[in-house]
Symmetry: C2
Amino acid sequence: MGRIVQKFGGSSVADAESIKRVAKRIVATKQAGNEVVIVISAMGDTTDDLMDLALRVSPQPEPRELDMLLTTGERQSAALLAMALSDLGVRAKSYTGSQAGVITTGTHGNARIIDITPGRIVSSLDDGDIVIVAGFQGVSQTTKDITTLGRGASDTTAVALAAALGADFCEIYTDVDGVFTADPRIVPGARRIPAISYEEMLEMAACGAKILHLRCVEYARRENVPVHVRSSFSDKPGTWVKDLSPVEQGAAVEQALISGVAHDRSEAKVTVVAVPDHPGEAAAIFDVIARADINIDMIVQNVSRGAEGRTDISFTLPSADARKAIEALRAEQDRIGFADLLFDDQVGKVSIIGVGMRSHPGVTASFFNALAAADVNIDMISTSEIRISVVVDEADVDRAVQAAHTAFGLDADGEAVVYAGTGR
Amino acid sequence: MGRIVQKFGGSSVADAESIKRVAKRIVATKQAGNEVVIVISAMGDTTDDLMDLALRVSPQPEPRELDMLLTTGERQSAALLAMALSDLGVRAKSYTGSQAGVITTGTHGNARIIDITPGRIVSSLDDGDIVIVAGFQGVSQTTKDITTLGRGASDTTAVALAAALGADFCEIYTDVDGVFTADPRIVPGARRIPAISYEEMLEMAACGAKILHLRCVEYARRENVPVHVRSSFSDKPGTWVKDLSPVEQGAAVEQALISGVAHDRSEAKVTVVAVPDHPGEAAAIFDVIARADINIDMIVQNVSRGAEGRTDISFTLPSADARKAIEALRAEQDRIGFADLLFDDQVGKVSIIGVGMRSHPGVTASFFNALAAADVNIDMISTSEIRISVVVDEADVDRAVQAAHTAFGLDADGEAVVYAGTGR
């Protein structure tokens, strides 16, 4: 007998029929002798519809009130799922994030979980209930107001609950079969990854693989919660995200040098032109960006040009934040003393990720050779211990992903081509 | 500077435009120097739509979960109204029933308010906020689960909050101009009642006047909260429900013997035929009804017929409960020993209400003569100190209401015709 947390997304509970189908699946888990906690998203497009309604009432909805509004979506699906479960003859109770003890910071729209106090959930489990928790929401530790964790954060709720409840593992049910070596829409030969380490999954999520939310993976790694990402439309096993044993690690490395290729089209590139090249200038620029509450991703600074001692600094950031960043920098142009700002949102980021590159030199060379052979020009580069990312023209993204996938032997029945070389 | 509670119903907040319109009205009250607490219903048909969704998931939705589901409607409108108010440059915060301290019994779907602990609301008012409370809902004192107060009970939330906050008065905004001497759809000459006592309003509500919920009026009377029922579509004064001063009372009595004529088509009549006429038989019948959790309204027992010492007992009850009552009685037919059950839902109740009848004899005679002149046959009769009700054929209801309204001088420019007589 185990204790399992299962999370179902909005597409799994899009209508009354889907809710009843999911209920049957949950009952099977319960009847196999497990204690079951369900985390549920809002039905289908509910959150978008509520957001539209809010925008019809107010062009810039008050964040506290937007949280009060949007959290009703998950409460509705939680209540409906509990009704469907009761109809199948099992005990089930729904709880709001607040009732479930999801304590958060007070940042409306993007709160972080501080603590879980699962007293009511534990007693409900002790009573034999299937417990259903409304995802995506909590209650502010200081103001006691209702908060949301940011979009897609029901996954994080599930993992945090699994950790707080000492669950055996957390299952994330979604509309795909698991984590793939690349987006199958771009690479038809992409394969499901049976198991992947937290670190690799973190890099995948940070590099645009949308299957798991970054915070969710961070939480799972910190609390060491095994996460099983799988399809709610089939019984097939999905992808386990967990601490890989040395044997598993070794098996993975033998199979392929890298675990997957991720891409992200949601970023834009800003170039600050002709910045005076003396100490403190880069800091001044990124201070302005930080004060505008914008996260940036990659940064590249060219060597100084000419006698004036001026340089260009480029960085990438989410396209949605680009206007805010440019306005903030324009306002400080005189003080910082740069000449111009260039903006390009026709860019994409392609990343290869794998713990294997730690011990295998030549991965960088192989990657860049594969891109060159595919006639893809590299605009910016950044690396971590287990990842290499390049920014390329948006039109080249698909070709770059396919080339990397093939070069590292990830295609079904493919074979890695690693160039000899020293270091990366 | 006063403290005012205002309640807006679902038709006042049916869409984004209505919400913005209501917001302007509320700001005016605030800017006149008042502390303002708003109680809000769900938008338009939201509650019905959620109920439909629940029934698509489960034929008999779990009551606890139905409360979790339905209460999201008021939370949504509360949040949206707070956004609209913020846009107008005033501070506004929405609260759920639970956050507002509405403590109830645990009867899901029909809970009663036990207590209000308005700590958060009072601090919010102290901060200068307009406070918005989601109506119709509270939190169970024992289980801490979310409860609902029964349909239409946002009025009760408003009055209870007004009492707990020591508000000067409570305004109920609705889609009509106030309480009328009769339903204007039946009696075109019906007039708005400027002021009415709690007792009369209680009888009106109990007799089918739908403008205020019975529990709401009970609460207002017990806590002595003046209630102003008025239209959200105009600035005209409505009807004040309050303790009338002797002068007001006298003025009302001079104007008319009765304050209004109410009618109700939602009841049905059950007749238990040939009940053995000995002590305890009536008790046995109404024990069965009470155990089925059904409220009955009027009861009539005929004199015994014939040598067998048997009698008929008729009673009225909400049509919706009739099947349950008949099934419960059928199950006990042998034990109680009655011969048959008759059922009639083609009945209506017409009531005249007025504190004036306390001091004026002849009101009953006038009423019955007016009905006779209108060719209306009386089926059952019941009276209180300030009310006379008759059950008539449903087809005769309109004619009976018109006849009574005219006879007691309630028509615009009408004059009371009171027959001389002793007692009623």
